[in-house]
Symmetry: C2
Subunit: 374 residues, 2 copies
């Protein structure tokens, strides 16, 4: 038999094995669906880190014994589990069935929709209050048990100031990307329970599993603890901090990055290199960095304008970045490689072990990007 | 039966299915190993895009019919195929068995090692010439068929200038991150075949499959065409361009990004926020952006100093970036959101459809990052 027909035969074996693999994944999806239904009946969280860790450990060991890479097994199973979190989540347990009315102000907005959907799938009665509904606001808000403000940053405070007549027992919460101002406004306008939330994800998440929600405690925590429990049921990880610490961290996390990407995009436009050539020439890591800039400009500019312009700490921070950029430029102008290397080490020390972790994690992720030639 | 014990039973079914899945992957690895051995005998490239596309299409269809996500199937199979490219590559076809001697100058360096390994696994006789070997250089280089310069940028030209006595038939190539200067030096020093190469990947790639190698044609192309064919056998995608275009593109792709990351890292060190809090608060996309900065500082500073300091076009480019940063800062100072949004749209237009593509691709990749909570 020729080598060519041998290869053909072996390829048929691959096709056969891949077909079996698809069948197993289909059967697995059936079982996880049943688990999801039981979980939603019993109020068990969708995501149970210990179960996941145990499952992976067993299969990694089996893979090792079978002479195949445990990392291959883990990556495959994690991808499969992601899918099962999504398919398991048609219905969620309702941790507080006594709730009669939830109002989401801005529930038609990108992130508002996510919460309308999550509450609805947890059997809560949800109403939305949109821009044109304010003439009926009194009626919509009457007897509300929970009001969530999910409107653009620029109008958040104004909207909150109009909520002075909420029922005393009603929980008032917001999901704005900045926390100090909305938090202060909520504390001032409402005598009942208040909590500030910042869901650290965009509207395109497939589920809340493994996503972070920042919690800034306001008042009467015991009355809104069910809401936090509900988010844990959805899969979220809660992170408690003060509005001030939150905003300072966001000046780094959100403002710095978006502003830099904005300038970098403008710079590319100004320089006007051949984009296709840049893409073709880029290795996965540069293509990823270019994609992180490019993606900004496919999104809503006013959202980013709001994030950047509303964080008052950020202007001084950005100015200091510019000064450090100038300092580094002068090293380049003087050809002072020794000082560059010295600074490099100092910053490496500042990052500590995290730098190595970044390298390790990003390598893994870049391999995943390579899989599909992102 | 209680819901709890029901869940336990279903989990056992999952474990059973996962165990079958591991067995299938093990069998598949056996078959792809055999395919790899046949391919290395017949000189067929490891990576055949058409076969991959056809295989994925069939399984996506099967997944759809079985009611599970075709994307789940595709992601899973791509991950499995990545593994098989790695395990298939114990041996490569040698496209030019008449080659008697390949010398890699700097073959003990990070990227030099990758090429020593690839040539060796393709049955070429490979010698290395390291810093301390120069007293024996004449002997090592005698009768060489191919000499590849794989030394740090800063010494590349000096090393090349010492290669004036290569055999006339010998191919001279370099793999430096800049191209104009080494290319000019090679063309001047050697009368035989010359080609400039820039492998657009780091030493940690698992294989050359889907990786880009930039090719700058020098002279006597017909004599080094086997070398390019060999790289295609390894899985590489070749991209032909001139040294000048290459360096201009790299000023954007490499210098701009590394320099910005360097400044961003210094900025974080100077501001000294609580790194653990930043990480805990970050959603996948910010964690990824932070990781892209952090990873730089886990690497060799002199490599990056060389890349940044040796590209003469880059200083002016970086200065113009700084000016654009200042312009954007003044928008922020004046609170001119309207102009910010206008610029945003202009840059979005410049990116064109690529911005949307970036958003789509990065979403996919972020989901993958979510899988492991990078």
């Amino acid at each position: 038999m020729s080598d060519g027909s041998n290869i053909e035969q072996l390829r048929q074996q691959i096709d056969q094995l891949d077909s079996e693999l698809v069948n197993i994944l289909a059967k697995r999806a059936q079982v996880t669906k049943q688990i999801g239904e039981l979980k939603s009946k019993t109020g068990t969280p969708i995501y149970v880190p210990e179960r996941e860790a145990e499952l992976l450990k067993k299969r990694r060991l089996q893979g090792k014994q079978a002479g195949i890479s445990p990392d291959l097994i883990e990556d495959t199973l994690r991808r499969v589990m992601r899918e099962s979190y999504q398919t398991q989540t048609h219905q969620y347990t309702c941790v507080n069935p006594s709730i009669q009315k939830i109002v989401i102000i801005g529930g038609d907005g990108a992130l508002g929709k996510v919460f309308v959907d999550l509450f609805t799938r947890s059997q809560y009665p949800v109403l939305k209050l949109e821009k044109n509904d304010w003439p009926q606001a009194e009626q919509i808000l009457a007897d509300a048990d929970l009001v969530i403000v999910a409107v653009p940053i620029a109008v958040t405070e104004t909207i909150i100031s109009q909520l002075q007549n909420l029922p005393e027992h009603c929980i008032l919460a917001d999901i704005t990307s900045i926390k100090q101002k909305p938090f202060k406004a909520m504390m001032a306008v409402h005598n009942g329970p208040v909590v500030g939330l910042h869901p650290m994800f965009g509207p395109d998440v497939s589920s809340l599993v493994k996503q972070v929600v920042v919690v800034c405690h306001g008042k009467q925590q015991q009355h809104y603890s069910w809401l936090l429990e509900q988010m844990v049921i959805w899969g979220a990880t809660l992170y408690e901090t003060s509005p001030k610490s939150h905003d300072q961290a966001m000046a780094f996390i959100q403002v710095m990055r978006h502003f830099s990407s904005f300038v970098y995009g403008n710079h590319l436009r100004g320089e006007d290199p051949k984009l296709q050539e840049l893409i073709a020439l880029s290795s996965p890591i540069y293509r990823l960095e270019l994609a992180m800039v490019g993606r900004l400009f496919a999104q809503d500019p006013s959202l980013y304008a709001d994030i950047i312009f509303s964080n008052k700490d950020s202007f001084a921070l950005l100015k200091r970045f510019r000064d450090r950029f100038d300092q580094a430029l002068s090293l380049l102008e003087k050809g002072d490689k020794a000082e560059f290397i010295k600074q490099f080490f100092l910053t490496g020390n500042w990052f500590g072990d995290y730098a190595k972790q970044c390298l390790k994690d990003s390598k893994k992720l870049l391999l995943k990007a390579d899989d599909s030639r992102l």
